[in-house]
């Protein structure tokens, strides 16, 4: 049992090694990457990052991704809040089936929807806009948000609702003033998960955009297939996509464990 700590330690080492390699490559020149094999950069350079921050076709990708991810998180959380409340407090016709149907959309492969999505959003004139990607990502994020929030809400005793109504609170006032502060950490965790799945998704985001809303991940695949050579810039772009995620984890680090149990444990 004394060597117990070794298991997570080795695992974390295994997790960080490929990421280290990416960072390592992003700090090398392209010549060095291709000519000498070294565990750390001999000729430390920030040129690769400079390319990304000065070339609009690169950095606009980050801005596009940020915009649609934020829209998606806002829509998911605000729409899911009342719905999750309804599922956790009331029973109504078809509630269980509705809940299951929502979950199946979380489970449905995006590949199935990619083609009709292209035509659907083209026909209503939303193709290549941020809002289109944000709504498309709602397909799996809204069910997830309802699922997580419902878990957190079921943990709040019903007496809180009843006392508030006896005290003469109207439903909207009760919801905003009393209920939401009570599940604040749940909302944070939900926002974290919505951010996560919208940020990492590529297939739908790539299908629904062409120029103006193209996400950074799609720009990266294009570069691979077109030049396939500039490994340094590619690695730098990869490192920059990891940073927002790392920041978000830092903010929710105290809630991660509970959040992953979806509030139900």
């Amino acid at each position: 049992m004394r060597w117990k700590w070794l298991v997570p330690a080795i695992y974390i080492f295994f997790l960080l090694l490929p990421i280290y390699w990416l960072v390592n490559m992003s700090l090398k020149t392209n010549d060095e990457i291709l000519s000498i094999f070294s565990l750390w950069p001999r000729d430390l350079t920030l040129a690769n990052y400079k390319v990304i921050f000065t070339d609009a076709s690169w950095y606009s990708g980050y801005i596009n991704s940020m915009i649609y991810v934020s829209i998606n998180v806002v829509i998911s959380v605000t729409f899911a809040l009342p719905a999750a409340y309804a599922f956790s407090r009331y029973s109504f016709v078809g509630d269980k089936h509705l809940f299951f149907w929502l979950l199946t959309n979380r489970m449905a492969p995006p590949a199935v929807f990619a083609l009709p999505f292209f035509q659907l959003y083209s026909s209503i004139g939303l193709f290549d806009t941020h809002i289109a990607v944000a709504i498309a990502h709602c397909l799996f994020n809204l069910p997830l948000a309802v699922w997580i929030l419902e878990g957190f809400m079921s943990g709040i005793p019903k007496e809180i609702d009843e006392t508030a109504f006896v005290d003469g609170y109207s439903w909207p006032r009760f919801f905003v003033k009393i209920f939401i502060p009570n599940i604040a950490s749940g909302i944070g965790v939900t926002a974290f998960f919505c951010f996560m799945f919208s940020w990492v998704e590529l297939l739908l985001a790539r299908t629904l955009t062409a120029v103006h809303a193209k996400p950074i991940s799609a720009i990266m695949t294009r570069t691979v297939s077109a030049s396939g050579l500039d490994w340094g810039v590619l690695a730098a772009a990869g490192v920059l996509t990891i940073l927002p995620g790392a920041l978000v984890i830092w903010f929710v680090r105290n809630h991660i464990a509970k959040g992953f149990a979806l509030g139900r444990v």
């Binding site: 700590w5 298991v7 997570p8 695992y11 974390i12 295994f14 997790l15 090694l17 490929p18 390699w21 990416l22 490559m25 094999f37 729409f79 719905a83 309804a86 599922f87 407090r89 009331y90 029973s91 109504f92 509705l98 299951f100 929502l102 199946t104 959309n105 979380r106 489970m107 449905a108 492969p109 995006p110 590949a111 199935v112 990619a114 083609l115 009709p116 999505f117 659907l120 709602c138 397909l139 809204l142 069910p143 019903k158 996560m196 940020w199 990492v200 998704e201 590529l202 990266m220 590619l234 990891i242 995620g245 984890i249 680090r253 991660i256 464990a257 509970k258 992953f260 979806l262 444990v265």
Partner: protein, 294 residues
Amino acid sequence: MIAKQTNQKAWFMVLPVFLVVAFSAVIPLMTVVNYSFQDTFGSNQFFWVGMTWFRDLIHSERFHDAFLRQIMFSSIILAIEIPLGIAIALTMPKKGWGVPVCLISMALPLLIPWNVVGTIWQIFGRVDIGLLGHTLASLGFDYNYTQDPVAAWLTIIIMDVWHWTSLVVLLAYAGLCSIPDAYYQAAKIDGASRLAVFRYIQLPKMQRVLLIAILLRFMDSFMIYTEPFVITGGGPGNSTTFMSIDLVKMAIGQFDLGPAAAMSLIYFLVILLLSYVFYTVMSNIGEESSNGGA
């Protein structure tokens, strides 16, 4: 369990979610059904062909292979990630400075865009510039994931383990954290072995989160697309062409709308059945444990 009040007005609270998801789910699904019975020569001209696509697909070698590959991949992934995840969660520190370090570094791979995960491993595994590929090559292994199907499979499996085991770990860890200390003390007094503690205290408490973990891991591995697409593009040959990759190849690459739609529907039916089985099992276990606890 709280007795829920029956109130049909609750539908109004659910309505916004229902409408948004229905817009993105029902209209495309109907379109897929329509396409699956028709042939098209472009410019929105369609011809009714009945069940032809379904009949072709069910008997096509290509579909069988992709389907088998998919089942095999998902089973391997589950067989590795679930036990490994539990083992790591059991050995993780419960308090002290190690907890945030573990949680943050383990959550990190989950927040990397999927194609970047692919890129990371594509680079990492290359013989000329990657640490893994270079090390293996200098040790004398003949490793090349772009030409050798076995190497390609191994790379994708290790990548998936790298990418997703943390999800299982974090779920299992959340389950473990909910066990009160009193349980362990009682077990100690009874002189229970390590194995007995795991079997009778830890496993039952983790049951629910583990089911969620299995459900999520199974479904997500069943629809894996981006990572193998970036690393191998489905190759060498067709050896890593999983269902989603095959589907996108057909729908967007070759623009065979009808066959792609038929494949989408069968794919969706498989997912629907599996989700229903998992969901039923999960809610029944939830009810049992809450009845037992009350």
